[in-house]
Each structure stands twice: as structure tokens, then as C-alpha cells.
């Protein structure tokens, strides 16, 4: 029997745990929520103090006890103004009469006005960011497309590059891992030692000479430069080899007796049994190359070849202070990955645990 005081203590601990979890969760969400909030604001209201979480802007303003809508007239004997525009500072009005002061513009400070605000989401910010002139590409995809919206090009580039790198990595390193784990050939262990030795080397050490090589061959600003070098890190081969080693030898022996070739063993025994490891590698490589910044930054400076991260960086250069557009562009870049992650997160988290177990 659990005593009631122990029960109460347990309930209290549960509440504390939830509070702590939620506090951290809120901290994690806040910047992302702020990004989405800003991305939906009107340009004039992207920067406001104090900040507003729900995008809204003044809909009416009270002038002389009358609620006026935007661009509406108001008048009183001898004095009438038209509301031109609202800004966070107040309302800009233009004097209509008396004629002596006609055309004069005044700002009525907000603290002297009574405005009502209306929630309004400016979805068109997304379209504007997508079509922004600063990232318009004149010609892309070997001349197949002309005058294309920047983010469309960045998206397609990211998709092309990421898919090629992921398939290439998983395919070639699973073949090599099979050779290292299941075949015997002279020099096997020393070659594998060579792979292991590079695991610890910072990536920049490899990048510099490869960058020099590509520049001298005039291969910068090509898809090959984006795709090929990242495909052959030792990590994938290492991860898969470790996993292949754990598959029982007996299964393979049985197939060999039946006359299976090494390739048949690879294709019909090793691969089907290694789905978790292959999935882990696929997710890691996909995520890494989708978000990779440094390598594309080094080898590509033509807009038509930029991937999403460096395309977004370029966008940031051109629209430094247009926060509503910057945030909309960031959401455009971030959203697909977030959705994929939220759908497949169970898989993903298991993959990390698997990769850490070897440590």
C-alpha cells in the first residue's frame, strides 16, 4: 500500500517536473514563434516597442471623438484632416482645411490618440520574400530556366545536392563497409586504419586543398563541386562497417554454400538486416548536407548555384533591415525540415542513440 502522503509527494513532484519541462519548452519555442510572428507583420509594424506577439495594426483612430478608418475624413468647424497612414509613432494626418494650412502634414502622437487595433496576418510577406528582386536568378539549371525566383532555385539546388550526396554516400559507403566487414583481402586492415585516422581530422583540413584543386581546375561554381567532395567522408563507412560486423556469420555462410556471390550476400542478406543503420546514416547525411553552410559558401558564389542556407545568407545581405521579409524567408527555409522531423522524429532520435552506443 502506498501511503497518501507519499502519493501527495509524488503528485507534487510530477507538477514540478511538468513546470520545469514546460519552462524549457517555452524557451525553445519562443525564438521560433517570434520568427513566425514577425514574418506575418506589416513592414511598418515589424519593429515595435513593446513587442507584440500577435501581428496587429491600428484599424481606426479616434480624432475629435469620432472613430476614423484609414484615409477617412474628419472635420470640425473650420478644421478637417484626412488620416493618411498609421505608424507605431502615431497617425500621419493631412490638413484639408483651413485652406491656409491645407496640405500640411502632422503626426498625431499615438499616446494622444485612441486607436483600436485589428489582428492582421500579412501572408503576402512570404510571396514577397519568395519573389524578392534581390535574389532573382537570371539563368539557372544550364540555361533551362530564365528569370526564376531565387528561393525556387535555392530549393531545387538543395534538393538536387542533398539527394545526390545522400544516395551517393549511403550506396558507396555501404559497399565499402561490406568489403571491410565481410570480405578478406590483403591490406584490408591497414586501409581501414586510414579511414579511421581521418575521423578525427577537422573538416576544414580537407576542405582547403580540395578547394584549391577545384579552383585550379575551374570547377568551382558547379554541381560537382557541391556534391562530390562531401560524399566520401569516412564516417558513413565506419558507421556501417561497425553495424555489419554484428550480423551473424552463419547467415552468410549458408548463402555462400548455396552459391551466392558476394554481391548477392550484400544485396539480400546484409542490406535487409541493416535497415536501422542505413536509416540512421541516411537521416544524418540528409540533415547535414541540407543544412551545410561552409562548403557551399566556399565553392559557390553564383546565385544560380546557391543552396538554401547560402541563398538565405545572400538574402540577408540584401534585406538587412526588412525584418518581416527576413523572417518570412527563414520560415520558408526552415519549415520543410521541421515538418519532416516532426513526422519522423521517433526514427531520428533512435538513430542518434544507436550512433552513440558505439562510444
Amino acid at each position: 500500500m502506498i501511503s497518501s502522503s507519499a502519493k501527495r509527494r509524488h503528485a507534487l513532484l510530477t507538477v514540478i517536473a511538468y513546470l520545469a519541462l514546460s519552462a524549457v519548452g517555452a524557451t525553445m519555442i519562443l525564438p521560433l514563434a517570434w520568427m513566425i510572428s514577425t514574418s506575418l507583420k506589416a513592414p511598418a509594424y515589424a519593429v515595435e516597442f513593446p513587442p507584440r506577439w500577435i501581428p496587429s495594426e491600428p484599424a481606426t483612430v479616434q480624432i475629435d471623438a469620432r472613430e476614423c478608418k484609414l484615409a477617412e475624413w474628419t472635420s470640425r468647424p473650420g478644421f478637417s484632416v484626412a488620416v493618411l497612414r498609421y505608424s507605431p509613432d502615431g497617425a500621419l494626418v493631412q490638413v484639408i482645411a483651413p485652406p491656409a494650412r491645407a496640405g500640411e502634414r502632422l503626426t498625431l502622437p499615438e499616446d494622444q490618440l485612441r486607436t483600436t487595433r485589428e489582428i492582421s496576418f500579412h501572408w503576402e510577406n512570404y510571396a514577397e520574400a519568395w519573389r524578392a528582386r534581390g535574389v532573382r536568378v537570371r539563368e539557372a539549371f544550364f540555361g533551362l530556366a530564365k528569370r526564376v525566383d531565387g528561393f525556387l532555385v535555392f530549393y531545387l539546388n538543395s534538393i538536387i545536392v542533398t539527394i545526390c550526396i545522400t544516395i551517393g554516400t549511403v550506396f558507396t559507403s555501404s559497399l565499402a563497409a561490406f568489403a571491410f566487414a565481410r570480405l578478406r583481402f590483403p591490406g584490408r586492415d591497414s586501409i581501414f586504419l586510414g579511414y579511421l585516422a581521418t575521423l578525427m581530422v577537422p573538416a576544414i583540413v580537407m576542405m582547403l586543398p580540395v578547394y584549391a584543386l577545384l579552383s585550379n581546375l575551374r570547377l568551382t561554381n558547379t554541381y560537382a563541386a557541391l556534391i562530390l567532395p562531401p560524399m566520401f567522408s569516412a564516417y558513413g563507412t565506419f558507421l556501417l562497417r561497425q553495424f555489419f560486423m554484428t550480423i551473424p556469420q552463419e547467415l552468410e555462410d549458408a548463402a555462400v554454400i548455396d552459391g551466392a556471390s558476394p554481391f548477392a550476400v550484400y544485396r539480400h542478406i546484409i542490406l535487409p538486416l541493416s535497415k536501422p543503420a542505413l536509416a540512421t546514416l541516411t537521416t544524418f547525411v540528409f540533415l547535414h548536407s541540407w543544412n551545410d553552410f561552409l562548403w557551399p559558401l566556399m565553392v559557390v558564389d553564383r546565385l544560380a548555384l546557391k543552396t538554401l542556407p547560402i541563398g538565405l545568407a545572400h538574402f540577408q545581405d540584401s534585406y538587412t533591415t526588412d525584418y518581416h521579409l527576413l523572417m518570412a524567408a527563414s520560415v520558408i527555409v526552415m519549415l520543410p525540415v521541421l515538418i519532416v522531423f516532426i513526422i519522423g522524429q521517433r526514427y531520428f532520435v533512435r538513430g542518434i542513440a544507436l550512433s552513440g552506443m558505439k562510444g
Binding site: 517570434w34 586501409i191 553552410f293 566556399m298 540577408q316 527576413l326 516532426i342
Partner: protein, 332 residues
């Protein structure tokens, strides 16, 4: 090796069997091995070689002019990088910027222990058998999946502090009654703390947390039951069961975090996009220094030398860690 079940057949001579074995392995090995040699293994050697030259990359040069671009300078780059000279009786580093940026890199790594402690704490919370825990775990992991560029752009906006445009963070601080919150990214004193805060946010619920959670879940429940019988309180259980049982995870997490911290790819993105390494070099890390030499100033020889030094740092650290750190690990 255990003997393999093969039908009895006349034994082939050893050398011919070896040749056949290599012949059979090559199709599997070759696609990856070739790429690995060209893009990973040989470049490592080439980087060491480059570090002994004053190679300057001419923008439109091809291989024909290579001989003109490269001059062997032996250890000159390293003398300039690591050496010092006397100036008015004082010792002055030949490349004071390098030491400064090395200092920056190490300073920014101060966030690592905080981040690891936070990850452990979160993992302990997530390991409670509560409902809806998956949602929290997913939320904590979000920053890790997000594109670093987008994250950095948002944080730049959050840290923003101009007299007429106040970013989110300073608005909150002013709301809490702090009249003059710092100009985060614009001041020498606050730029590094700002980077650490952002890195903490980005990393605390990420890989390390998931690894700790996996470590926690692999601790046998019997140990806790036995401790309960002995009347151990929650603190004693944490101190004498959880912590020692997690030590292999901690070892792995610390090792990987420090290696990643020295390379600092997230901090590179942040410095590159938020501050350009400023103000006055306050957020320039070694990675950004290498990038500037290689890409902005085309001095690949010197960049390679800095990269070699970075590699030796990682190497030395890993060696020390394997030699001494492993003693602290409790293996089952």
C-alpha cells in the same frame, strides 16, 4: 578466425587466393575508396604540405601557373603563427591575432560545460514516466534540426539593440526593469556572452540530451530497486548509481563536444552572418580566421598552417582524453 564451411577442394596456392580475394573485394571497395582518397585522405596530406608553402591562389590561375604561385617556405608559416619577437624589450607574438582568436575560440567553449549539464538535467526530466514526454523531447530537439543560418538570423533580430529599434531580448529586459540593457552584438563585452546564450539554446536539447536519455534508459532497473531496499534517497541514487552508470556517455559527450567546439561550425555561421567576426574581432574564431585567409585573402598556405594547428589541438586533446579521461569512466 573460425574455419569456414567450404566444400573440400584442392587448396589453391596462397598467392593466387589472395589475388582472387582482392579481385572480389575491389568492386565493393573502389567507388568509395577512390572518392575517399581524392577528397579526404590525400587532402589531409596535401594540407600539411600546403602549410609549408606560401601558396596564394590567383583568382584566374590554372595548374599551368602553379609553380609561380607556390614557394616552399619550410616552417616560416608556423614561425609567424606561433613565434614571437622582442619589441622594446617586450615579447610580442608574431601573429597576435591568432592568439586572440584562439582565446576567443576557447572562451566560447565555456558554454560547453553549461550545455552538457543542461542536457543531463533535461534528460533526467525526460526520463520520468510522464505523459506527453515525446512532445517535450521533440520541442527540445527542434533547434538542432533547424538550419543554422535561419537560427542565426532570428537570433540576430532577437539580440538587436538600436536606440529606436529594440529587439525582443532587450524589450523583455526593459520590461523586467533593466533600463539600459546591453548592446549585445555591438559591444566587445557582450558579444561573446550573446554567442554563448545562443549556442546554449541551440544545443542543450540536441544530440547530447538524446544520448544521455538513451544512457539513462539502459541503466538496469534492478540497481535502483536494490538501492531502495538499502534506503537510499534520490540524491544518493543519483550520485551512486545514475552518475557512475552514465560515465561512458559523459565521456563520449564531452569528447565529441570539445572536438566540435574547437571546430565550431555553428559559431562560424553565427560570426559570419551576425557580426562578421566583430566588434573588433571579439567573435572571430579560428575557423573564421582560416576562412578569411583562404577565401577572402587567397592565402591558402597560411590558412593551411592555421588548420594544421587546429588539427594538432584536436589531436592533443583527444590523446589526453583517451589517456586520462578514461580512468574516470566506470565500465560495467
Amino acid at each position: 578466425m573460425c574455419p569456414r564451411l567450404t566444400p573440400a577442394s584442392p587448396a589453391p596456392t596462397p598467392s593466387s587466393r589472395r589475388r582472387t580475394a582482392l579481385w572480389r573485394a575491389l568492386p565493393f571497395l573502389l567507388p568509395n575508396l577512390l572518392g575517399f582518397l581524392i577528397f579526404t585522405f590525400l587532402p589531409v596530406l596535401a594540407c600539411f604540405a600546403l602549410s609549408l608553402t606560401d601558396y596564394r591562389l590567383a583568382p584566374i590561375a590554372g595548374f599551368r601557373d602553379l609553380a609561380e604561385q607556390i614557394e616552399f617556405v619550410a616552417l616560416d608559416n608556423f614561425a609567424r603563427l606561433l613565434g614571437w619577437h622582442r619589441e622594446d624589450g617586450l615579447l610580442v607574438a608574431n601573429d597576435p591575432e591568432f592568439w586572440r582568436y584562439l582565446g576567443n575560440t576557447l572562451f566560447l567553449m565555456l558554454g560547453i560545460p553549461l550545455s552538457i549539464a543542461g542536457s543531463l538535467l533535461l534528460a533526467l526530466l525526460l526520463n520520468q514516466r510522464l505523459r506527453g514526454i515525446t512532445i517535450f523531447r521533440t520541442i527540445y530537439f527542434l533547434p538542432t534540426v533547424c538550419s543554422a543560418v535561419a537560427v542565426v538570423i532570428v537570433w540576430k533580430w532577437i539580440f538587436h539593440s538600436q536606440p529606436n529599434e529594440v529587439g525582443l531580448l532587450n524589450s523583455l529586459l526593459m520590461g523586467l526593469g533593466i533600463p539600459n540593457p546591453p548592446d549585445w552584438l555591438g559591444s566587445m563585452a557582450w558579444a561573446k556572452p550573446a554567442f554563448i546564450i545562443m549556442t546554449l539554446w541551440a544545443s542543450v536539447g540536441g544530440y547530447n540530451c538524446v544520448l544521455y536519455l538513451a544512457g539513462l534508459q539502459s541503466i538496469p532497473q534492478e540497481l535502483y530497486e536494490a538501492a531502495d531496499l538499502d534506503g537510499a534517497g534520490p540524491w544518493a541514487r543519483l550520485r551512486h548509481i545514475t552518475w557512475p552508470m552514465l560515465s561512458p556517455t559523459t565521456f563520449f559527450v564531452v569528447t565529441m563536444s570539445i572536438i566540435a567546439g574547437l571546430q565550431g561550425s555553428f559559431l562560424f555561421t553565427a560570426a559570419f552572418l551576425m557580426t562578421g567576426g566583430g566588434p573588433a574581432g571579439a567573435t572571430t574564431t579560428l575557423m573564421l580566421y582560416i576562412y578569411n585567409y583562404a577565401i577572402s585573402w587567397h592565402q591558402l598556405g597560411y590558412a593551411a598552417a592555421v588548420a594544421v594547428v587546429l588539427f594538432s589541438l584536436v589531436f592533443t586533446f583527444t590523446l589526453i582524453n583517451w589517456r586520462y579521461g578514461q580512468r574516470l569512466v566506470h565500465y560495467r
